[in-house]
C-alpha cells in the first residue's frame, strides 16, 4: 500500500513536471528560454526526463511487483536455483547501451552547436569581481558595472527587519543591467579579476565559468520577439557575498540597442577617450572597471 502511495506520488510529479504553467511559485521545471539553443537544451532535458520516467516505470514496476508477489507472509517459496540467466543478462546490458546511443546523438549535436561562436556581430567582455559583474562592449568601449540593487542589498543584511517579499525581484535585481540586442549573434568573452565566478542566465542556457587568467567564450542569439528583462546569478562559490551578485540582461530590439549604445558612448567617451582603445587592446584579465 505504501508502494501505491509512491506510485501516486511519482504520477503526480510526472504530470506536474509535464505542465510547467500549472504552478506559479511552486515552480517545478526549467524554462525553455529565449534562444534556439536554450530550447534545444530544454528539449534535451525533457527527452532525458522522459527516458528516465520510462526506465523508472519498468525498473520500479518490476521491484514493486516482486515486493508484493514474493512475500514470505503470502507463502512465497524461494527458487534458490535462480541465480543466473544468460539471456536476461545480455538483454539488460545491451539494451541500456542502445538507449545511451539514442540519448547521445542529440546531446552531441547540441554540444557541437553551442561550441560554434563564429560569425558573431557583437562582442561583450564579461568580468567577474567579488561581488559584481563588469561588462564591456568591445567595439564601442562602453563599460557597465553591475551590482545588486539598493533595495535588495538593504533587505538582505542580517536582521534588517525588511520583509524580502516586499522587495521587487529580491536578490535578482541590479543597478545597471547588461543591455543586449535581440536577433543578433552576440559573443561573450568571460573572465574574472579575483576568484572564479560563473556567469549564468537560465533563459540563455549559458553558464560559463569566469576564471582569472582565462578567457572563456560563449554566444547567444535571442529571438527578436523576446525583448524584456531576464535574470540569473553567479553560479560558482566566490566568497562571502556569492549569493548577492545577480545578473540581469535587458533585451532590446536591434534599433533600441544601437540607440542606447550611442548614448552610452557619448556619455562615457568624452571623459577618457584613451580608455576604450586601451581596454580593447588589453588582455581580458586586466582591470576594466
Amino acid at each position: 500500500m505504501n508502494m501505491k502511495k509512491l506510485a501516486t506520488a511519482i504520477a503526480t510529479v510526472t504530470v506536474a513536471l509535464a505542465s510547467p504553467a500549472a504552478f506559479a511559485a511552486w515552480t517545478l521545471n526549467m524554462t525553455p528560454g529565449i534562444t534556439a539553443i536554450s530550447r534545444r537544451v530544454y528539449d534535451l532535458h525533457m527527452i532525458m526526463y522522459w527516458w528516465c520516467v520510462a526506465i523508472a516505470i519498468f525498473v520500479f514496476g518490476w521491484m514493486i511487483y516482486s515486493l508484493v508477489r514474493f512475500r514470505k507472509s503470502q507463502g512465497a517459496v524461494p527458487d534458490t536455483k535462480l541465480v543466473h540467466n544468460t539471456k536476461a543478462e545480455i538483454i539488460w546490458t545491451v539494451l541500456p547501451v542502445l538507449i545511451l546511443i539514442i540519448m547521445a546523438v542529440p546531446a552531441t549535436r547540441t554540444l557541437i552547436e553551442t561550441d560554434d561562436a563564429s560569425k558573431s556581430e557583437l562582442t561583450i567582455r564579461i568580468t567577474g569581481y567579488q561581488w559584481k559583474w563588469g561588462y564591456q562592449y568591445v567595439d564601442s568601449g562602453v563599460e557597465v558595472l553591475s551590482t545588486l540593487d539598493h533595495a535588495s542589498n538593504a533587505a538582505r543584511q542580517l536582521g534588517s527587519g525588511i520583509d524580502p517579499t516586499t522587495v521587487p525581484d529580491y536578490l535578482l535585481n541590479v543597478d545597471h543591467p547588461l543591455v543586449v540586442p535581440a536577433g543578433v549573434k552576440v559573443r561573450l568573452l568571460i573572465s574574472a579579476q579575483d576568484v572564479i565566478h560563473s556567469w549564468w542566465v537560465p533563459a540563455l542556457a549559458i553558464k560559463k565559468d569566469a576564471i582569472p587568467g582565462f578567457v572563456n567564450e560563449a554566444w547567444f542569439k535571442i529571438d527578436t520577439d523576446k525583448t524584456g528583462l531576464y535574470r540569473g546569478q553567479c553560479a560558482e562559490l566566490c566568497g562571502r557575498d556569492h549569493g548577492f551578485m545577480p545578473i540581469v540582461i535587458d533585451v532590446r530590439s536591434k534599433a533600441d540597442f544601437e540607440a542606447w549604445l550611442k548614448t552610452q558612448q557619448a556619455m562615457q567617451r568624452p571623459a577618457d577617450p584613451a580608455a576604450a582603445a586601451v581596454a580593447t587592446a588589453g588582455d581580458a584579465a586586466a582591470p576594466t572597471g
Binding site: 515486493l67 546531446a107 554540444l111 553558464k207 548577492f244
Partner: protein
C-alpha cells in the same frame, strides 16, 4: 560445531587492558571497528547539525540567523565532516569488523597500523574543527577547495590542509590493511570468487583509495605552498593554472564518490539475498560490474567541470564516458531486482533500508544520467539539482546502507536483538523525510536556484520551506538510531548465531556475540563451501 571449539580454546589469552587504555592501545579488529563506527556516528551528528543550520537559514528568504561567511563555513565543513568523518570511517569500521569474520581470518593483517590509522582521525578532525575558533573562521571555500578562493581563507586554511593530510594517511593505511588482509589472510578454500560481495567491493574500494588519496594530498600541498611559499601552481598571475587544480581535485574526487558508494553495493548484495532467502543473482557479474565502475571512475572526472570552458573534444569525451557508467550500474540494479524475483521476502529493518536504497539510489542514478548530458548540464551545474542528485546517492545511498549494515550485523556484534519496532519507525521516518528534504531540491535547481547561497529570491521560498521541514524531520529521526544501538549494546533478547533465517556466510557460523578472538583456527573447507552455496550455482564447485 566448529565455531565453539574456536571460541573456547582461546579464552585463556583473552586478556586486555581495561578502561581507556584498552581503546588507545587496542590492536583487535573488533575494537578498532567499534572505534571507527563510534567516531563516524559522532561525526554524522556534527556534520548533521551543520546541515540543520543550513536548512534553518534557508527556511525562508532573508538573512535571519547567520552571516553569509559563516553559512559558507557550514556548507564546507558539513561536506568535509560527512565525507571524511562520517561515511569513510563508517565503511572502514565495517571493514574492520566484518572482513576478518567473512574471510575466516583471525584479525586484520597489520593490527598496529590499524590502531594508528584510527587514532589519526580524532587529531585530523580536531585540526579541522578548531578552524571555527581561529581568526578568519572555519574553511568557507567549499569542500572542493578551489583556488584562488580557498587561498583567501584565514588561519584555518593550513589547519584544514593538515587535517586532509592526516585523513589521507589514515585512509591509505586503512586501505593497505584491507588489501593485505584479503590477499593474504583468507582461510584455505576461500577463493577470490567465493568471497562475499562486501569483501569484494571493499577490495576494489581499497585500490581506489590508494590510487587517489595521494593525489588529493598532492593537490592540497600545492595549495599550501602557493599560499605560504610563493609558488604559483594554481595562480594565473604567476604563470599557474587555477583550472589545473580542478582537474587534479576531480581526478581524486570522482573515484572518491565511488569510495563512498562501492561498499554500499557490497552491503546491499549481502542483505537482499538474506531477506529474499535466495542466493545473489549474477554473483560474478556483480564483481565485474564493480570493477568496471571503479575503472570508469578514473576517466570521467571532468564531468564535474563542464562549465570551465574545456575544448569540445574534451566535453564530448567526458560526456560519453560518463554515460557509460549507467551500464554497470544498471547491471547491479537489475541483479538486485532479479535476486528478489521468486524469492521469499521479509522486511526486517536491514532489508527495509536496503529497499529504500534500491529505489532512491536509482532516482539518484537517473538525475546522474541527466547531468551527464553536457549541454543540459550547463543548466544543472552548481544548482540545487546537483545538490539533490548527490544527496540522493549519498544519503539513501551510502548512509542508509551504513544503517542497514549496522542493523544487519549489530546482533552478531552485541549478542542482543534490538528493538525491531523502533528500528522500523526509524526507517519510515528517515525514508519519508529524506524525500521531503531532497526531492523538492530538484525543482529548486531546475527553477534556477544556485547552490551554496545563504539567501534566495522569493520565488524559491515555497520549496525551500518544504525542504527545511524535511531536513528537521530527518535530523530528529536520526536520534532514534544511537538510542536503538546503545539499548541493544546494553541488553535485549538473546541473538542466535544465525541471526537471520536466510543469512549465509562465515560470520553467521560464529556465536553471537562474537568472541574477542575469532577464526584463530581457520574455518573448515566444508564450512566455507556451506557459505559458498549462497552464491555459486551448484554449491560444490571449486
Amino acid at each position: 560445531m566448529a565455531y565453539s571449539a574456536t571460541a573456547e580454546s582461546h579464552d585463556h589469552h583473552d586478556h586486555r587492558p581495561s578502561g581507556i587504555w584498552r581503546w588507545l592501545s587496542t590492536t583487535n579488529h573488533k575494537d578498532i571497528g567499534t572505534l571507527y563506527l563510534i567516531f563516524a556516528g559522532v561525526m554524522f551528528f556534527v556534520g548533521g547539525s551543520m546541515a540543520m543550520v543550513i536548512r534553518l537559514e534557508l527556511f525562508k528568504p532573508g538573512m535571519q540567523f547567520v552571516d553569509p561567511a559563516f553559512f559558507n563555513s557550514m556548507t564546507t565543513v558539513h561536506a568535509l565532516a560527512m565525507i571524511f568523518g562520517g561515511v569513510m570511517p563508517a565503511w572502514v569500521g565495517l571493514a574492520n569488523w566484518m572482513i576478518p569474520l567473512q574471510v575466516g581470518a583471525p584479525d586484520m593483517a597489520l593490527p598496529r597500523m590499524n590502531n594508528f590509522s584510527f587514532w589519526l582521525l580524532p587529531f585530523a578532525f580536531t585540526l579541522l574543527l578548531i578552524g571555527f575558533f581561529v581568526p578568519g573562521g572555519a574553511p568557507a571555500g567549499g569542500w572542493t577547495l578551489y583556488p584562488p578562493l580557498v587561498l583567501q581563507g584565514g588561519d584555518s586554511f593550513p589547519l584544514a590542509v593538515f587535517a586532509i593530510h592526516l585523513m589521507g594517511a589514515s585512509s591509505i593505511m586503512g586501505a593497505i590493511n584491507v588489501i593485505v588482509t584479503i590477499m593474504n589472510m583468507r582461510a584455505p578454500g576461500m577463493t577470490l570468487l567465493r568471497m562475499p560481495l562486501f569483501v569484494w567491493t571493499w577490495l576494489i574500494t581499497a585500490y581506489l583509495l590508494i590510487a587517489v588519496m595521494p593525489v588529493l594530498a598532492g593537490a592540497v600541498t600545492m595549495l599550501l605552498t602557493d599560499h605560504f611559499f610563493g609558488t604559483s601552481f594554481f595562480s594565473a598571475s604567476g604563470g599557474g593554472d587555477p583550472v589545473m587544480f580542478q582537474h587534479v581535485f576531480w581526478f581524486f574526487g570522482h573515484p572518491e564518490v565511488y569510495i563512498l558508494i562501492l561498499p554500499a553495493f557490497g552491503v546491499v548484495s549481502e542483505v537482499i539475498p538474506t531477506f529474499s532467502r535466495k542466493p545473489l543473482f549474477g554473483y560474478e557479474a556483480m564483481v565485474y560490474a564493480t570493477a568496471s565502475i571503479a575503472f570508469l571512475s578514473f576517466i570521467v572526472w571532468a564531468h564535474h567541470m563542464f562549465t570551465v570552458g574545456m575544448p569540445l573534444a574534451g566535453e564530448l569525451f567526458f560526456m560519453l564516458s560518463t554515460m557509460l557508467i549507467a551500464i554497470p550500474t544498471g547491471v547491479k540494479v537489475f541483479n538486485w531486482s532479479a535476486t528478489m524475483w521468486k524469492g521469499s521476502l521479509t522486511f526486517e529493518p536491514p532489508m527495509l533500508f536496503c529497499l529504500a536504497f534500491l529505489f532512491l539510489f536509482t532516482i539518484g542514478g537517473f538525475s546522474g544520467l541527466m547531468l551527464a548530458i553536457a549541454p543540459a548540464d550547463f543548466q544543472y551545474q552548481d544548482t540545487y539539482f546537483v545538490v539533490a542528485h548527490f544527496h540522493y546517492v549519498l544519503v539513501p545511498g551510502s548512509i542508509f546502507t551504513i544503517i542497514a549494515a549496522v542493523y544487519y550485523w549489530l546482533p552478531k556484534w552485541t549478542g542482543h536483538m534490538y528493538n525491531m519496532t523502533l528500528a522500523k519507525w526509524h526507517f519510515w521516518l528517515s525514508t519519508i523525510f529524506v524525500n521531503v528534504l531532497f526531492f523538492p531540491q530538484h525543482f529548486l535547481g531546475l527553477a534556477g536556484m544556485p547552490r551554496r547561497i545563504p539567501d534566495y529570491a522569493t520565488q524559491f521560498a515555497d520549496w525551500n520551506m518544504v525542504s527545511s521541514i524535511g531536513g528537521f524531520g530527518f535530523g530528529l529521526s536520526q536520534l532514534l538510531f544511537p538510542y536503538i544501538v546503545i539499548k541493544c549494546i546494553r541488553g535485549g533478547e538473546k541473538a542466535a548465531a544465525r541471526v537471520w533465517e536466510g543469512a549465509h556466510g562465515l560470520e553467521w557460523e560464529l556465536p553471537s556475540p562474537t568472541p574477542y578472538h575469532t577464526w584463530e583456527t581457520p574455518p573448515s573447507i566444508a564450512l566455507i563451501h556451506k557459505g559458498g552455496e549462497h552464491w555459486t550455482e551448484d554449491g560444490d564447485d571449486a
